[in-house]
C-alpha cells in the first residue's frame, strides 16, 4: 500500500488542493490590485505598506504561497510525466467523441498554460516584489511607492500586451482547473457538478478580465 507519491489519486488530491488555494490567492490578489483603480495612489500604497508591516507573518504567507506553487507544479509535472509514459505510441487519427466529454482546448493545454503562468509569476515577482524601491510619504509615514512602479511598468505597451496575453492563459487554465479540482477531490453531485462545470467559464472569464483591465487602465489613464 503506497500512498505517496506513486498513487495516481494522491497526486490529483495534492494538485486539486493547491490549485484551489492558488485560485483563492488569485481572487484576493485581484481585489488588492483593483485598488489601483480608485484614483488615489495612496490607497494602493497604504495596502502594500500594511502587508509589509506584517513582518514575519508576511514572510510566512509568502513562503506558504511559494510552497503551494511548488506542490502544484510538482504534482502537475508528475501527472504529465505519467501521461507521456502511459501512451508511448500515439494515435494517427484521434478526436474527441464530443457529447458528454469535457475535453476542451483548456483541458488539453493545462501543462502549457501552467508552465507559461510559472514563467510569468517569476517575471512578475522579480518586477514588483524585488523591483526598484521608490518611496513616498503617505499620512506622514515614509513607505514604498509601489504605485509609481506599477505605472512605470505599464507605461510600456509591450509589458501591457504580455500581461494581457498571459491573463488569457490564466483564464484557459481556470476554465478546466476550477471544476477539475472539485472532481479530483471526489466532489460530485448530479445537479451541482453541471453548475460548477459551467460556472468554471464564468470564474475564468471574471478573473482573466479583471486582471486584463488593470494594465490597460494603468497604461491609458495613469
Amino acid at each position: 500500500m503506497v500512498f505517496w507519491p506513486r498513487s495516481s489519486i494522491a497526486k490529483k488530491f495534492l494538485n486539486a488542493v493547491t490549485g484551489i488555494g492558488l485560485a483563492l490567492f488569485v481572487i484576493v490578489h485581484l481585489a488588492e490590485n483593483l485598488l489601483l483603480l480608485t484614483g488615489n495612489p495612496d490607497d494602493y500604497n497604504r495596502w502594500a505598506h500594511f502587508l509589509h508591516s506584517l513582518g514575519p507573518l508576511l514572510t510566512v504567507l509568502e513562503l506558504g504561497l511559494a510552497a503551494f506553487f511548488l506542490a502544484h507544479i510538482w504534482s502537475a509535472l508528475l501527472v504529465y510525466w505519467d501521461k507521456l509514459k502511459a501512451r508511448p505510441q500515439g494515435y494517427r487519427v484521434y478526436r474527441s467523441a464530443g457529447w458528454t466529454s469535457r475535453q476542451t482546448l483548456s483541458s488539453q493545454t493545462m501543462i502549457y498554460t501552467g508552465l507559461t503562468l510559472l514563467a510569468f509569476v517569476i517575471w512578475h515577482v522579480v518586477t514588483f516584489r524585488f523591483g526598484p524601491y521608490y518611496t513616498v510619504m503617505v499620512d506622514g509615514v515614509e513607505m514604498r511607492d509601489l504605485h509609481r512602479l506599477v505605472v512605470e511598468v505599464f507605461s510600456d505597451p509591450i509589458n501591457v500586451a504580455l500581461y494581457v496575453g498571459v491573463m488569457v492563459f490564466l483564464g484557459f487554465h481556470l476554465r478546466h482547473g476550477f471544476w477539475s479540482a472539485l472532481q479530483s477531490l471526489g466532489a460530485y453531485h448530479p445537479r451541482w457538478t453541471a453548475v460548477w462545470y459551467s460556472g468554471g467559464v464564468l470564474v475564468a472569464i471574471a478573473l482573466a478580465v479583471g486582471f486584463i483591465v488593470i494594465p490597460i487602465w494603468v497604461y491609458l489613464y495613469l
Binding site: T100, R102, Q103
Partner: protein, 251 residues
Amino acid sequence: MSKKMTLHLRIWRQPGPNAPGKFVTYTIRDVSPDMSLLELLDVLNEELIKKGEPPVEFDSDCREGICGTCGFLVNGVAHGPKRGRTACQQYLRDFKDGETITLEPFRAKAFPVIKDLVVDRSAFDRIMAAGGYISVNTGSAPDANSIPIPKEIAEQAFDAAVCIGCGACVAACPNASASLFVSAKIAHLALLPQGQPERVRRVLRMVEQMDKEGFGDCSNHGECEAVCPKNISIKHIALMRREYLRALWSL
C-alpha cells in the same frame, strides 16, 4: 433495398507484438449499408484469405454489444461514431459511401498490441484480481431477498456494474488512464452490503495495481464517459476518490 456501398479501410497492420506496424488501405466494393463494421472486416478477411494474404486480426465474441471483447478506434473514436455502442454495433449506414475509415488499435503502454487490432487487456484482469471481488460462502445460492437493498442503491450499483471491461475508456483517455473502469468496479461493490468486508483494502489495492500497470492519471477530461459503450458516468471516478480518502482515514 438500400444502395450498395464502396468503403476504404485504412487499417493498422502489425504482424506481432515487437514487429513494426503500418497502415494499409483496402477497398471493399458492393457492401450492404446494413452490414456491421465487423462484418465488413469479415468480408475483407475472406478476400485476403483467398488471395493468400494474412487476414486482419481483431477481437470479437458476442457481436451484440454486451461482452466487451471487441474494440478499436474508428476514425479516432474508441468503438466508433455512434455513442453508447461497442464496435460490433456500428453499422455501415452510419458511414458515407466512398469514405475512408481508419481503424487503429487501442493504444496504451498497459495495453500492448498483440497483432493488428488486437491488444492485450490482461492488465484489467490483474486489477480485478487485486481487489475486484467479494468473499462469499460456497454452497447453495442464498435467498434473493435475504439482504434488503434500497432501490436507489441497487440502481446506482447497477449503473457501475454494467461495465463490460472493454478498455475503451483507456483508449480514449488523453492520459491513457484506467480510472473509469477501476472506479466502476469499486463503486459497484462499495455501494452494496456484500462489498463491505473488503471495502477499504479493495480501493487501495485496485488503485495500486492500476498504477503499477502503467496507466496514466485521470485529468478529468471526461472523454471516457463519452466513448463508454455502457454510458458509465465519471461520477464513479469521484466516488473512487472519496473511497480512497475514506480508506486512508480508516487505516
